[in-house]
């Protein structure tokens, strides 16, 4: 038993602890392994089953022999061996049938499939399985193929890249397990029936192919960031998984500003996670969040990812939203926020597409900059109807700007004068703007307020639904 293995066994303790440890390693590594095996074996189901079998083996072997030093290589090698065993078994029974169902050509994207399983087994027998970083990219583009509906893209991504099991994915998206299982089965079948190729799109195709990948990852993050009741752990895992996928994407596509933008946005948003909920589990508005609880490492990484692109003009929507989040992250207190920059960024967003939710957020920021009158003026053109019809309300999202009062309501006087004021103590930014911190009256359920700042709801549709 190796040193690290012995240590792992000791620290893991009970059998349940051990299997959890194995599970967590698998969660981390299986996406990469599955991605490589799909290329090597040429078949999604075969690769998935092989990785699952490797997991079973790991559950018995690792607690006994210790965790391998390179779990990823162990999984890939074991899985491939299992797959070959299976192919050998099946080749004696229905060779052509199995071969006909293989999806992709091995390795060479332009090559034809080997015509017999026997030949495949021979080819793979001696082959060193090269775990290529690009494989995860291939898998991302496959899972997020435009012929699949967004729900299917997300489900497939979480399953094949995230290594999540169907029940977990179903729980995360609040659909019955059978529904989610069907969704995944259909998606895989569609890709197979249509002869989807396992490849990274060429430059010319990226404008069509990259956006669904970004949207899927951001959807997973948004789902993980929701403060709905129950499955709190699943939520955190989802956000972390989204960030992990975002890192893979950004690292493998260093020339894509929106990949960097999405990652930065997720990191900067996630940095606020600990400060978002109060003891009762209600959302804490940005203005009132304890900034000491913001994760500075996340912020640093987020700003780092954004920095190389700061000179580049014509930002995409993720980069803009990331810049909004960055503006908040840089401010020691709510009062210190660079509101001018934020208004500017909202202007850019609105130029690209008119959106009442963004317009409201802009008005709130304007209020911080120029006072409540300016904000109310900016809001005059917007009606509650146009807001509620465009704000996503699915899955119990806090209503957000829908609760915005009409222009007839008198704002509570602010303790601050217009413009910058000396920073209040860091812990609580007191004297919050009346536009932002309208408290629910006693007896009425506390509703979330329109918030300035980068939207958590960064899914496909609405950009910055100002949230927490």
């Amino acid at each position: 038993m190796g040193e690290s293995g012995a240590r792992a066994s000791r620290s893991a303790g009970t059998a349940a602890g051990l299997s959890r440890a194995v599970e967590s390693v698998f969660r981390r590594e299986s996406g990469r392994c599955t991605a490589t095996l799909i290329r090597v074996l040429g078949d999604v189901d075969l690769a998935e089953d092989a990785v699952a079998e490797a997991f079973e083996v790991a559950l018995t072997r690792w607690p006994r022999d210790g965790m391998p030093d390179n779990p990823g290589a162990w999984i890939t090698t074991t899985a491939r061996r299992r797959a070959l065993d299976r192919l050998r078994r099946e080749s004696t029974r229905h060779d052509r049938h199995v071969a006909a169902h293989r999806t992709f050509g091995t390795g060479d994207p332009t090559g034809a499939d080997p015509s017999t399983v026997g030949r495949l087994v021979e080819e793979l027998g001696g082959e060193q399985v090269e775990v290529v970083a690009d494989d995860q990219l291939r898998l991302m583009f496959l899972c997020c193929h435009p012929v699949l509906a967004p729900d299917s893209q997300v489900a497939l991504t979480l399953r094949l890249l995230g290594g999540l099991q169907t029940p977990e994915i179903a729980r995360a998206f609040l659909v019955p397990e059978a529904t989610m299982a069907q969704r995944i089965v259909r998606a895989k079948r569609k890709l197979r029936d249509n002869h989807a190729r396992y490849r990274i799109p060429v430059e010319a195709e990226l404008p069509d192919r990259l956006p669904p990948v970004l949207a899927a990852i951001s959807l997973i993050f948004t789902e993980g960031h929701r403060a709905t009741d129950g499955s709190g752990l699943v939520r955190v895992e989802l956000s972390n998984e989204a960030i992990r996928l975002g890192r893979v994407l950004a690292d493998l596509m260093p020339d894509e500003p929106e990949a960097a933008g999405l990652l930065a946005l997720m990191l900067l948003t996630d940095a606020r996670r600990s400060a978002r909920l109060d003891a009762a589990g209600a959302l804490v508005p940005l203005a009132e969040q304890d900034r000491d609880r913001w994760d500075q490492d996340r912020i640093a990484e987020g700003l780092d990812r954004l920095a190389p692109w700061s000179r580049r003009v014509d930002p995409g929507r993720f980069r803009i939203q990331a810049e909004l989040a960055a503006a908040h992250a840089r401010a020691a207190t709510f009062a210190d926020t660079d509101w001018a920059r934020i208004v500017e960024l909202y202007d850019v967003l609105l130029q690209r597409r008119s959106d009442p939710v963004v317009a409201i957020n802009r008005a709130v920021a304007l209020g911080e900059l120029d006072g409540p009158a300016a904000a109310l003026l900016a809001l005059e053109g917007l009606t509650t109807t146009s807001v509620s019809s465009s704000t996503p309300t699915s899955r119990g999202t806090p209503p957000g700007p829908i609760s915005w009062p009409g222009p007839g309501v008198r704002p509570r006087p602010s303790r601050r004068t217009t413009g910058r004021s000396p920073s209040p103590p860091r812990r609580r930014s007191g004297g919050s703007s009346p536009l932002v911190a309208r408290r629910a009256e006693p007896g009425r359920p506390r509703r979330s307020r329109p918030e300035v700042g980068c939207g958590v709801d960064i899914g496909r549709g609405a950009p910055t639904g100002g949230s927490t």
């Binding site: 249509n194 002869h195 989807a196 490849r199």
Partner: protein
Amino acid sequence: MAQYLLSVWHDEDYIDAFETTPPEVIERLHAQVGALNADMEKKGVWVFGGGLVPASSATVVRPGTDGDVSITDGPYAEAKEMMGGFWVIEAPDLDSALEWTRRASLACEGAVELRPFQDG
């Protein structure tokens, strides 16, 4: 290589439109589709294709008992939608087929359904 069916679909306005479409529109569509067909043949993608007359001229034949069939006047589906025509193409993979479908949709200025044939 795999084969795909690209079918053009119209809603119920098609039959009316068929009669009343101005000749210059018809001419434009013919030219666009013709150019696409030529390119399909040139690229070795074309298997077969053509436009269909409206479904009102269709007939449905169903098996009955004892080797008999029944004959019904009209299309199979009393549906609002109708297939206006199709291509059968041969393409190496989905992305390639999808690109041809994109061009087909633009050429006939309508919805085109992409559907693969079963293997062998």
